[in-house]
């Protein structure tokens, strides 16, 4: 099913667009951060998609079953790492946002810029 592969890649591209758009166009810092994690999720989708083999199964051996097609485990490992990196970034970003709220009383980018210019 070739068009399915195409659909997966298109979904990746679309997700990338949506997340990236939120990062650039949204003024709210939390919204930006959510956009950022969607942007990263899109990349996860790309990696996992490329690791899939038709009629494959998860790369875990089972007793007694031999001669099986396994999907490629390497992209999965990479994405495991990337997911954890992503949540770390989000956690740190939220920490900064909370500090910004405490110092400025706002988490809207345009308001913060205005406050410092005063």
């Amino acid at each position: 099913m070739d068009w399915l592969g195409v659909y997966y890649y298109w979904a990746f591209a679309a997700l990338l667009m949506i997340g990236f758009y939120a990062v650039i166009a949204k003024s709210n810092l939390i919204k930006k951060l959510i956009g950022l994690s969607m942007f990263q999720s899109a990349v996860f989708l790309l990696y996992i998609t490329m690791g899939k083999i038709d009629d494959g199964t998860a790369p875990i051996y089972h007793e007694g079953i031999s001669q099986q097609i396994f999907s490629n485990p390497l992209p999965q490992v990479l994405i495991l790492t990337a997911i954890v990196v992503g949540i770390s970034t989000v956690a740190l970003g939220l920490g900064i946002i909370v500090r910004i709220q405490e110092e400025y009383g706002s988490i809207e980018e345009h308001e913060i810029l205005g406050i410092d210019e005063r």
Binding site: L16, F20, L33, L36, F39, V43, L92, I96, R99, I112
Partner: protein
């Protein structure tokens, strides 16, 4: 000893990395600075040992977990990474040596162990990028260094650091994700993550489109992290509002490490394997480099805050580094690499002077620095001497890189003449913006009601002068950086020395 010598690449990363949990566990009161500084010194020492090994012509390779590449993760150190290792570990050590008083003043004692932990993590991240020979591993260490840098920048007492660092976080993450997309596309086409293996297998890829797009994503992503001109927006505020020792550290190395990756990927991976890549690379990079030099320098010329002025100057210097690389020639690349080294020296010295000033002056606007040279003669003398190196006056380290850059440009004929004009204009703009500071400090009338301040603490001053003098040492006897950088240029162009 020789048994340990083979572990050097692993130790280079391992030492700073594994010291961090120990510091967190013990949280030694007042000693965390000493622990971090000692670790940084030791890391620098390892970097020196590695450089010696590279200079002796050894192939420094290391397989993590004894799994051979491409299945396991390999580390490798060549001349290019060696010179960057020296820059990064040296800058960290120097900045830490000068950091204690300022950090004591800015950060509560209870939070200091965490601050120094973050510092070592940033160091380990940078070093990890430099020794790694695996594309994905580079991403992981890039994230360690980035996250730790965010923490460091937000560490100071200035609240404006927070929005600045958030912007940095967003742009840095976008850059890293772009890099990840690029690596994913290459992996899609080659099935490997090891850089050397990748290089071999890209050659066999028939359809070059994904590789081309990957090259684009990686270059843009890294350019974002390296603050290449139109993508530099995060840098000025981040450098300005960070605690000064952090600025010393990051200004000397964070953009350099991204530039290192940029050059490594573009030259090592794509240049030999993509049709016309040298032309595309030049067309893409050269205008940006020229813009960076001219635009950032002119922004610096009208900037009133000393730290931001130097930050803009850093963006301009990134332009010089890229300009050398965009010529895609041996001398051009040599100029590029050696300018990384020399600019790190000059900028570290300048920011150390700022650190000296920051211990005594409440505010770092040029207006409020009038007449400060009378009270802090040694600091301002150091600033002057370091400034000369940034401008590129003969006898200083900065001159060496300008020399190589112009020599490289001369090989380009008419285009080269234009480039020389740009370089010269950039240098003159540097004269202008640095001289505004010098003039205010030396010949300005001391502000009414300004309190009498003394010379900076001796500890910081000594470190500052050490770096300033090394600017002159490497200006008069530059054989170490020149040897390393010409070897690096050869490696990048695939001419194995």
């Amino acid at each position: 000893m020789s048994a340990w010598a083979q572990h050097l690449p692993a130790l280079q990363v391992g030492v700073p990395l594994l010291t961090t949990p120990i510091i967190v566990l013990l949280r030694p009161h007042g000693l965390s600075w000493a622990a971090a500084t000692l670790t940084s010194c030791f890391t620098f020492f390892i970097a020196v040992m590695l450089t010696v090994a590279v200079l002796q012509g050894q192939q420094v390779q290391y397989s993590m977990g004894a799994w051979p590449a491409p299945h396991g993760i390999a580390l490798s150190v060549d001349a290019f990474s060696a010179i960057l290792l020296l820059i990064v570990t040296g800058a960290s050590t120097v900045a830490l040596l000068a950091a204690r008083q300022i950090v004591n003043a800015e950060i509560e004692a209870s939070r200091q162990p965490l601050f120094y932990t973050a510092w070592l993590l940033a160091l380990a991240g940078f070093v990890g990028i430099l020794v790694s020979a695996d594309a994905f591993n580079i991403f992981v260490f890039m994230e360690i260094s980035s996250l730790a840098s965010y923490v460091l920048i937000a560490g100071g007492s200035d609240r404006r650091a927070l929005p600045a660092v958030f912007k940095y976080l967003v742009m840095g993450t976008i850059g890293a994700t772009f890099y990840l997309i690029g690596i994913g596309l290459i992996y899609l086409m080659t099935g490997t993550l090891n850089l050397a293996d990748m290089e071999v297998r890209i050659r066999e890829v028939s359809d070059q489109k994904p590789i081309l797009v990957a090259a684009g994503f990686i270059t843009i992503g890294l350019a974002l992290k390296a603050a290449v001109f139109p993508l530099h927006l995060w840098l000025p505020n981040a450098y300005t509002y960070a605690p000064v020792p952090v600025t010393v550290f990051l200004a000397a190395c964070s953009t350099k490490v991204s530039l290192y990756l940029l050059l490594r990927f573009d030259f090592f991976l794509f240049q030999p394997n993509l049709l016309n890549h040298n032309i595309q690379f030049s067309y893409f990079i050269m205008p940006l480099a020229i813009l960076a030099i001219l635009a950032a320098s002119s922004l610096a010329m009208f900037e009133r805050n000393l730290k931001r002025l130097l930050a803009y100057s850093s963006i301009a210097q990134v332009g010089y580094i890229l300009l050398g690389a965009s010529l895609v020639s041996l001398i051009g690349l040599t100029a590029s690499v050696i300018h990384m080294f020399n600019h790190a020296l000059a900028k570290a010295a300048l920011f150390l002077c700022v650190a000296c000033l920051a211990t005594r002056c409440a505010n770092l606007r040029i207006d409020s620095l009038r007449g400060v040279a009378k009270q802090m003669p040694w600091t301002m003398a150091a600033f002057l001497l370091a400034g000369l190196s940034l401008i590129g006056v003969p006898g200083t380290a900065g001159f060496i890189s300008k020399w190589y850059l112009i020599t490289a440009a001369l090989d380009e004929g008419l285009l080269g003449v234009g480039l020389i004009v740009v370089v010269a204009a950039g240098s003159l703009m540097a004269v202008y913006y640095l001289w505004r500071v010098i003039e205010a400090a030396y010949f300005g009338k001391t502000n009414e009601g300004a309190e009498i301040v003394g010379e900076a603490p001796l500890g910081i001053l000594v470190v500052c002068w050490l770096v300033v003098l090394s600017n002159y040492y490497f200006g008069l006897a530059p054989s170490l950086p020149t040897t390393l950088s010409s070897a690096a240029a050869q490696i990048l162009l695939g001419q194995v020395p």
